[in-house]
């Protein structure tokens, strides 16, 4: 089974995050393999372990430093990696990203594509669906559980999107996205980290992918961020130490702000 995992190199959410003057996410700040994509790598590895056969290819589109993210995913147990890296991709929107990733998928080949449920930077949760649309294959997203029936060439998920829980299935090849409910992602072992250094990591630019320069990048983006303004940090309010009157204080505060159910909160 050929499993292809798309991951994203994102600013570490526990550190400083910001935007460039051009309105793109500042990737010069410390970045890492998106936590939500770790679950996608984990799911892919489990599927080939269960199948007893197969290879996991990790792919990303990102700046040169995104190679670190690929190495980490390889250290977790991936077999090969593809890095789409081209200056002219800066400012590419979700339409352009899905165009590039779809081309990678066609070239690498796959029975199953596994993605995280969202990136932790843009957080749109749209690329897996857009990728499936471009590839003309079924899409099963927000999976809390994934099972593959290789003999029957089918994939089945438990979709938990926060609103509905459904069991859904489709034929292979397909695109799935997984939530953090599929379980903890493994840590790379020392052996894995050493082995990852020797695994193949290909770097492709737009020319190698055969994608015209004017189909991607900020110039061709259909949605453009024109300004990114930091919100003033939230001002701390009042902090009181309970002297036995805290419940009354809170109730009065809620009443003043019309936050009690009887005060027409909406």
């Amino acid at each position: 089974m050929r499993v292809l995992v798309f991951v994203k190199h994102v600013p570490d959410a526990s550190g400083e995050r910001g935007f460039t003057p051009a309105g793109t996410v500042d990737r010069t700040l410390p970045c890492r393999l998106s936590e939500l994509d770790e679950h996608a790598v984990e799911q892919a590895l489990r599927l080939i372990e269960q199948a007893g056969t197969g290879e996991v290819t990790i792919a990303t589109m990102g700046p040169p430093a995104a190679a670190e993210t690929l190495r980490k995913a390889l250290a977790m147990g991936g077999h090969a990696a593809v890095h789409v890296c081209d200056d002219r991709l800066a400012g590419t929107d979700a339409l352009g990203t899905s165009l590039v990733l779809a081309e990678v998928a066609r070239r690498v080949g796959f029975d199953l594509i596994v993605c995280g449920m969202a990136s932790t930077d843009a957080g749109m949760s749209v690329v897996p669906a857009m990728l499936a649309e471009r590839l003309g294959v079924p899409q099963l997203s927000f999976a809390a559980e994934v099972t593959v029936d290789l003999a029957g060439q089918r994939v089945r998920i438990r979709r938990e999107d926060g609103r509905d829980t459904v069991i859904a299935e489709a034929g292979l090849p397909a695109v799935v996205s997984v939530t953090d409910q599929i379980g903890e992602a493994r840590y790379p072992s020392f052996k894995g980290i050493m082995a990852a250094r020797k695994l193949p990591l290909q770097t492709w630019d737009l020319a190698e992918l055969g994608i015209p320069v004017d189909a991607v990048g900020m110039v061709h983006a259909a949605a453009v961020v024109e300004s990114a303004t930091p919100e003033p940090p939230r001002q701390p309010g009042r902090v009181v130490v309970d002297d036995g009157t805290a419940a009354a204080t809170i109730a009065e505060f809620l009443r003043e702000r019309r936050l009690l159910p009887s005060s027409g909160r909406n």
């Binding site: 339409l95 957080g123 749109m124 949605a223 130490v241 809170i250």
Partner: protein, 325 residues
């Protein structure tokens, strides 16, 4: 009709979700709101949609909407957009809505914006959108540059305009032609698992949320969160620590790897407020926190912080709220 703004109606079996009214109001500020009602076996609630400002209703009734994931709705909207050439398509930004928006934007090669909190018309006919980024720490302004913009609108969007007046005359209803395509039946729903009905509001759209964390101590005492939530008519949420401890369902997790909420009132019980948790709630309008640790980071963003024993405070707070109601 170039002035028409299509709104994908958010409903469960014909019962309109709050997002429908919100999106129709956003649409009224952009052009002529038209509701798109897709259902399996439910007629469109035309009068209710008209009362919310819809000037036209496009409707399709097909079992496929209940039997297959996402693509049947995309196909219906795509067919409608091709026929009507609207100025924009608005969908609610819940997970299925995002996926519909993404696929539709690919088909239309058009701008896609998710989690818009405000939408305005630009002078060039495109749209100007506002979003927040990085858990509410940045405000983004953007513009759509191509095609028929597809906008996934966040819950509780900011709308300056008053509610649109209800239509004075009967609102026309037009059927949507449903194209047949193989992809629409590729991802089949084989079973629906009915959620346990708590009777409480949905976490992500509720106007008030009460959450509990490690400070609750054990699963039994976590019940206090629900008691306070019920007194307030609020949704129940939890920190990752409470979820990992098994005190409540994972679907209730608020934070970076859980849900992002921005209610009018966020009341945190025994939650320290780690950065991952704050990422999911710090854009809440009013934050109240109770924690026994005066150093808890949640106090740095709380409008009212109480250092104290929540087991002493919350039961009294519940009875005060009940007697005020």
């Amino acid at each position: 009709m170039a002035d028409e703004i299509l709104v994908l109606v958010d409903h469960t079996g014909g019962q309109l979700a709050p997002a429908t009214a919100e999106l129709l109001r956003v649409a009224a500020g952009l052009g002529t709101p038209a509701a798109v009602f897709l259902a399996a076996g439910t007629p469109p609630p035309v009068e209710a949609l008209a009362a919310l400002g819809a000037r036209r209703v496009y409707a399709a009734d097909a079992p496929a909407f209940a039997e297959y994931l996402v693509v049947p709705q995309v196909a219906a909207l795509h067919s409608l957009v091709q026929r009507k050439q609207p100025a924009a398509v608005l969908v609610p930004a819940y997970p299925t809505g995002r996926e519909i928006a993404g696929r539709l934007a690919v088909r239309l090669d058009s701008a896609l914006v998710t989690d818009a909190v405000a939408v305005e018309r630009a002078t060039d006919g495109g749209l100007v959108t506002s979003q927040t980024a990085f858990a509410g720490s940045y405000q983004l302004r953007g513009r759509t540059a191509r095609g028929t913009p597809v906008i996934a609108v966040a819950p509780h969007p900011v709308v300056d305009a008053p509610s649109p007046p209800a239509a004075g005359e009967p609102v026309p209803v037009e059927p949507i032609e449903l194209p047949t395509e193989a992809l629409a039946t590729a991802a089949r729903i084989v079973e629906r698992i009915e959620p346990e009905r708590s009777g409480r509001p949905d976490l992500q759209t509720a106007s008030a949320v009460v959450t509990g964390g490690r400070g609750l101590g054990d699963g039994e005492r976590f019940g206090l969160v629900a008691e306070l939530a019920d007194a307030l008519g609020a949704a129940v949420g939890a920190s990752r620590a409470a979820v990992d401890a098994g005190w409540c369902d994972r679907s209730l997790q608020v934070g970076q790897t859980g849900k992002t909420v921005s209610p009018q009132l966020y009341l945190a019980l025994g939650i320290s407020g780690a950065i991952q948790h704050r990422a999911g709630m710090q854009s809440s309008r009013t934050i109240v926190a109770i924690n026994k640790d005066p150093e808890a980071p949640i106090f740095s963003i709380a409008d009212l912080g109480v250092v104290g024993d929540l087991f002493a405070i919350v039961p009294e707070l519940i009875s005060r709220i009940r007697s005020a109601a």
